[in-house]
């Protein structure tokens, strides 16, 4: 029944120096559907693949706006993510209230990391079963952070977590040098293509199962471009742009073949 003697609670090390409950929590992240995040010089983009439990049900939300300058994408237990996002929303409002300032992204990420870490060191608690990608802008520009149930956080230029996310990461690694200088729309397209890589043969991106969140700095003024969530029909132009870029690539290949 048990994999071993050391996974009954989250506070006990195994003799190999591992904490199995934390590792199991990280498995929960891998079960969640994939989300991708990327940044360039001005924007941070979150892209997610939504799942519906059954044909008749609605799709589970993957991207949540935390504040006008920040959003998160979730992979894993959605209910745990809701707890974390509510906390983040409160902290961001608190910052606006007491300082009249938008919460710096690294600050809020450190705060949720501290909460998650406590859950791995106190008896009777369990780690969060969710991984987050936190995208936001602050005085230092756009940021993307990865958050794991262990309480570990890292700032990333591009990242993907969830089921089959390795395919997306491979795409991102391959196109890394294009990301930084891309435009806002190109960055979204890169995100959607990374997401597309993870799909199994019989699936495709539709307006129903895709979710895109964008936040950044306006090109002309340098002011914050508020977090915008694209869902449903609003996704049409983004998905069309993705299709165009795909066609453009294959066409290029074809013409070269024909010409030779």
């Amino acid at each position: 029944m048990f994999r071993n003697n050391y996974d009954n609670d989250a506070v006990t090390f195994s003799p190999q120096g591992r904490i199995f409950q934390v590792e199991y929590a990280q498995e929960a992240v891998k079960q969640g559907s994939v989300v991708v995040g990327l940044v360039n010089k001005t924007h941070a983009v979150l892209v997610g693949l939504k799942r519906n439990a059954e044909e008749l049900s609605s799709y589970q939300k993957k991207i949540i706006e935390v504040d006008s300058h920040m959003g998160i994408a979730i992979a894993g237990l959605a209910s745990d993510a809701r707890v974390l996002s509510n906390y983040m929303k409160q902290q961001c409002l608190g910052s606006r209230m007491t300082y009249g300032r938008a919460m710096p992204v690294d600050r809020i990420v450190t705060q949720i990391a501290d909460r998650a870490q406590t859950n791995t060191q106190q008896y009777g608690k369990r780690p969060y079963g969710v991984g987050l990608l936190v995208a936001g802008v602050d005085e230092a520009g756009p940021h993307l952070f990865e958050f794991q149930p262990s309480g570990m956080t890292q700032e990333m230029v591009a990242c993907a977590i969830g089921a089959r996310s390795q395919m997306a990461r491979t795409y991102l690694e391959r196109n890394l040098d294009q990301l930084n200088d891309s435009s806002r729309d190109e960055l979204i397209t890169h995100g959607l293509r990374a997401l597309k890589e993870t799909l199994s043969q019989d699936k495709e991106l539709t307006v129903d199962n895709t979710s895109v969140g964008v936040v950044g700095l306006k090109h002309e003024t340098g002011k914050v471009e508020s977090f915008k969530l694209y869902e449903g029909q609003q996704l049409l132009p983004l998905l069309e742009a993705l299709e165009r870029s795909d066609v453009g690539e294959t066409k290029e290949g074809e013409t070269m073949e024909v010409d030779s």
Partner: protein, 260 residues
């Protein structure tokens, strides 16, 4: 001396009459600060083209006694703001500790999200309002000088009730009566701030300090002056009011030991 330890160290009843033990009463309503103890007098500040200048004398009075003559009532916060305190000196020191710990907390951030003067003023006004709502006010009137988020010169006040007020020139305490009229005459509303140079502002402040030294009985001729510009903050402490002329005092009649 008798054999009752409770009476030891007290004035003898047979010599001074019975001890008024109502001073030792521990029951009854709890009373917070009803009046300040050691106080600083006016703080004055002026906005000019590209910055703000702020000044306060170096005196802490105990009632009408000039008790401490080297108290610095201007506090530099980071490289962004100067806070000037009038009112209770111990409450000033408490707020100073709050600001110190906040400064340290802010500097943990690797991304350079520094609090600006406006953020600081919002925070301080919230602290003051919270304390007045607990019927335990911090007995201060504070001026915050620096720059706001748009890099424009910022000057605003907050008092012990949490009331906030902003103007191109501000003064607290006696200065609100004596310095403001002078500043309004020198820098009338219709004169744009762009016309006021740094030198104009400093000269005006020195003039106001001199008038305050002449007419405010709780003031001192030693003062501190801070100038905040985009280049940084210059603080001059232990300045002396120069070119004093007490000739006008001859003409003052109507009180004191005058026979005429």
């Amino acid at each position: 001396m008798n054999h009752f330890p409770g009476t030891w160290g007290r004035p003898r009843d047979d010599v001074y009459g019975p001890y008024d033990s109502s001073y030792l009463r521990s029951t009854g309503p709890k009373a917070h600060t009803q009046s300040p103890a050691v106080t600083g007098t006016s703080v004055i500040a002026v906005k000019f083209n590209g910055g703000v200048a702020i000044a306060a004398d170096n005196l802490a009075s105990y009632g009408s006694l000039a008790r401490f003559t080297d108290v610095k009532r201007l506090r530099v916060f980071g490289d962004a703001a100067v806070v000037g305190f009038s009112g209770d000196v111990s409450d000033m020191q408490y707020i100073d500790r709050l600001l110190e710990s906040m400064d340290i907390r802010e500097n943990y951030s690797a991304h350079g999200n520094q609090l600006n003067a406006k953020n600081l003023h919002t925070y301080l006004s919230k602290v003051l309002y919270k304390r007045r709502s607990e019927f335990n006010p911090l007995w201060n009137h504070i001026l915050v000088a620096g720059f706001d988020g748009e890099k424009k010169p910022f000057l605003s006040s907050a008092d012990l009730l949490g009331t906030t007020f902003s103007a191109p020139h501000l003064a607290t305490g006696f200065g609100a009566h004596l310095a403001i009229p002078i500043l309004r005459r020198l820098f009338p509303e219709e004169r744009p701030i762009e016309e006021i140079t740094k030198e104009d502002a400093i000269k005006a402040l020195k003039e106001c300090l001199k008038v305050l030294w002449y007419r405010d009985a709780r003031s001192l001729d030693k003062y501190s002056l801070a100038v905040i510009t985009q280049e940084g903050i210059e603080v001059q402490e232990d300045q002396q009011i120069e070119a004093q002329s007490w000739a006008f005092a001859e003409t003052i009649k109507g009180y004191g030991a005058q026979t005429v």
